[in-house]
Amino acid sequence: MAEASNSFSSELGSSNETDESVSNRSSNRSLRLAEKSQRKSEASDPLLLALKYFSEVKAGTPRIGNDVMERNMALVERVGLSRGLPPEGISVMLDYAMSLRMGAVPCVRVLKFLIPATVVPQEAIVRGMAWLCVGKLAVSTQVFFLKWVLTIFDMIDSKEQLRAIYGFIFSFVTEEQLCPFICHLLYLLTRKESVRPFRVRKLLEVQTKLGRQPFLMHLLSLYKVFCPGFVAVSLPSGIRGGFRSHNSQWKTVLSAVQKKNNGQVTSDICLTLGAKCKPNSRKRKCNHLQLPSLSSSVQRSSSTSRKVFPLEQLHSFSQLLENLHRIELPSQMGSLLGSSLALCYLDYVQDDSAFLRLNFWLGHALHEEFIFCNGEEGSGSSSESLNFLNRLLSTQHFLQEGFFSTEGFLFKFLNVWDGAFLRPQILGLLSDISVVPSSCIRQLLFEPLMQLYFTSTLYFKCSVIECLNNMLLKWLTWHSVYALKDGLDISLNSHTPMNMSLSGLMDSIMELVHFVGRLATVGLQLEGCHSLLLSFTLDFYETVCDMFLKFDLPLVAMPPLGVFLPALFATDPVSVDRLCFIMYRYKKNLMAAKCQQQETKQGFHISSQTYREFNRYQLIIVSCLWNSKMFQPGMAVEVDQNILALSKVPEPSHSFNLIHHPAFLGYALDFHHKCWPERESIDLNSIKAGKQWDWYLEFIFTQGFQGLQQFFQSFISRHSVAGTTAQGPGDTQPTSG
């Protein structure tokens, strides 16, 4: 056995050169033949002869010096690599190779050019598996064969017979070197009826021998989905990664052949589906990102007794409704992404195995293309990747939930991301992720984001805050939609094994809010309180302040001072106005929470710390904008008078009221000019006195500052507005509870 594998590996090592020389020679040699065949336009004629030779050649025929064999082999090889072989050709060649009629060397060579033009007959695969059972093949050749089967799996016309020999295939899991590939193949073939207790036991046995390998875990998790009773062991939710990708040499050739044959094969599907547009114009270097065209496994054997309705014949929603009970899922789940009708169906059936298969395909494709890209040029932001991610995004929006394989991919990708590559798509996907448990949110999400955020430009900072705002909105929406009546147990996402308690959700949200607080505080400091970043931060807090009233989440979290003060002292009036609006909404939420607490005696508990912060903030706003008592003792922001005197500002406590605040100074001047058009010198302090102050406020409110107006009406009693003697925050303020 060892000798055999040695000879095989040496063969593999030199295979590239020999292949080329062979094909060169063969092209010279068969030039005449090819020309003739082209003239006759009967391309298959010499091929048929060659195939006939291989189907009839006797075992033990010498290989070395056999010119007939060499010529025929070269011909088939050329056809295989350029146009792909017809189904019967695949059958014949596979049988010839696996039977080792001429030894092991041609076997590997044949497998290398076994590229199907259209489909692979399942009988060929079954026969190949049978040869595998004979046990004459070297282990490396067996692996090679299995890799080939996995590569062309989606082109096998029907899998019924393969499923029938599930047990035979399963028996190979004990072979250590074959196990990963066998597991992958079984994963693709498994149905509910194939899950048996003795198979589970066998897998667990293998697991104890080989350790917790991902391929075993994947298969076990699929078994668990079908028969939760059989698999008692706990499996980590959403095993990341997947089956090892074997970047086989077939893929490039296969995609080239498919591209060549694309016109005939996929165009009709394109017509019927509509969702998958222009397959011909897609050029791909790898096959990964191509959404497979919809084709269910029963396409060819439509005469079978089971009456099923293949998805690709679905044209309208009414058709979907009529055939809902007998729809067959396609053989390749990735094709579902291309069709909204198929997604409707998927969402309706809630089939766990379908989701598992789709997730598996997706995780594999994402990983291949974006993390483990074998690309020569590292797959730049090519339009394929862009289209693929956009399609994924729209699918997730359609289903209104993220796939867990996308999440796994994102958490991994964030660690190698430069922060610019496909930024809108990545951040879009990131905002779709389901609630991350607070125990691992830091490591999975915050750490990589922090490193990106603090070393990036202003625009990236803004987009991160926006993304986190969208994420929070999604989490809150899920909560308000899925929360059960008793408010204790919510199953956020029926397709992930994650069930989260309310307190778990609140912990995660609290972590997220605090995290954004930190990001915003330091970000504003680093960027010199840039208004753009401030605006995105205030967007976020507009979501946060209404968590109780809008989303029914019993949680109130105040912004940190590092966000509050830059907004209050911003030079643009919009930020100040929005801050006032946010404070007004906080008040509404706190009051509602307090009411609920008093009525039901069991509302949620808001810490006294939150009340203290809220009271402090409103005191700062009122004393700063209205009362001109800024910096005075007992007014929240205290600064020593001697230090203030050093600044040589005449009346420091007045410098941030609505008249002198840098954001409103322009309005004050405007107002002054309108009030006293005849005055030569400007005395802004005259606005403060008596009626003018009321008029000035009215004037400000008419400029569209709704936030200021709402804050003013809710926090300050009307009669006390007479300038400097205004009383502090009204008696309506919630006190610490």
């Binding site: 991902p214 990341r240 990664g241 970047n247 974006f370 993390i371 483990f372 890209c373 074998n374 690309g375 040029e377 590292g378 730049g380 932001s381 958490f411 991994k412 660690n415 190698v416 991301w417 430069d418 922060g419 610019a420 590559f421 490591q443 750490e447 922090m450 490193q451 603090f454 070393t455 990036s456 430009t457 330091v522 400091q525 680093l526 010199g528």
Partner: protein, 184 residues
């Protein structure tokens, strides 16, 4: 054989100096050109080196270096080794936020052990670890912008922010679980 020291020279007014160290000298050049082309309010001076220590003869004329960047190409073992040996010629003061690593080709078929080794190195030195797309102009520009963002802080151009402060926020921390290093 002299240590490069962060505070042995006086800083220039409105100036910042960045040193790019890369053994292969592939990414270095175009990154340097991109950095210089960026519109900044200060004079940014980019210096290039294959490895440390820097030659003695320029010692006098060399300005204060505000940020040392090690560029590591993940597809080459030599690149990592060279950066590792160069680190010895830096004054410990540099590791208070004035060193960062830029890794290229992380998203390709590289042995995972090498990526883990780089992560461990960055974590043990409390340095930020940036990933760069060196094949596209957009990727190079992004890397330049990110380096400049760090440089601005380390050169003391941002009020109230120091390099140590930034490094506490950006330094790479190792996941507690070693299995997680692979993020599998």
């Amino acid at each position: 054989m002299s240590l490069l020291k962060p505070f042995s020279k006086t800083p220039e007014i409105n100036g910042a100096n960045i040193l790019l160290v890369e053994n292969e000298e592939q990414f270095q050049q175009c990154l340097a050109e991109t950095i210089v082309l960026q519109n900044m309010n200060v004079n940014v001076n980019v210096r290039l080196a294959r490895s440390l220590p820097l030659p003695m003869e320029n010692e006098k004329s060399r300005p204060r270096i505000d940020l040392v960047v090690f560029i590591i190409n993940l597809t080459s073992e030599a690149s990592f080794k060279s950066a590792e040996t160069s680190l010895k010629y830096l004054d410990p003061g540099y590791f208070l936020g004035k060193v960062c690593f830029v890794v290229t080709k992380a998203r390709s078929a590289v042995p995972p052990e090498r990526l883990i080794a780089v992560r461990k190195l960055a974590a043990s030195l409390h340095c930020p670890l940036l990933y760069a797309e060196d094949q596209t102009t957009e990727g190079v520009t992004t890397t330049a912008h990110r380096l400049l963002a760090i440089l601005r802080v380390t050169a003391g151009l941002i009020p109230m922010a120091t390099s140590l402060y930034l490094s506490t926020l950006t330094c790479y921390t190792l996941p507690s679980d070693t299995d997680q290093l692979n993020f599998d």
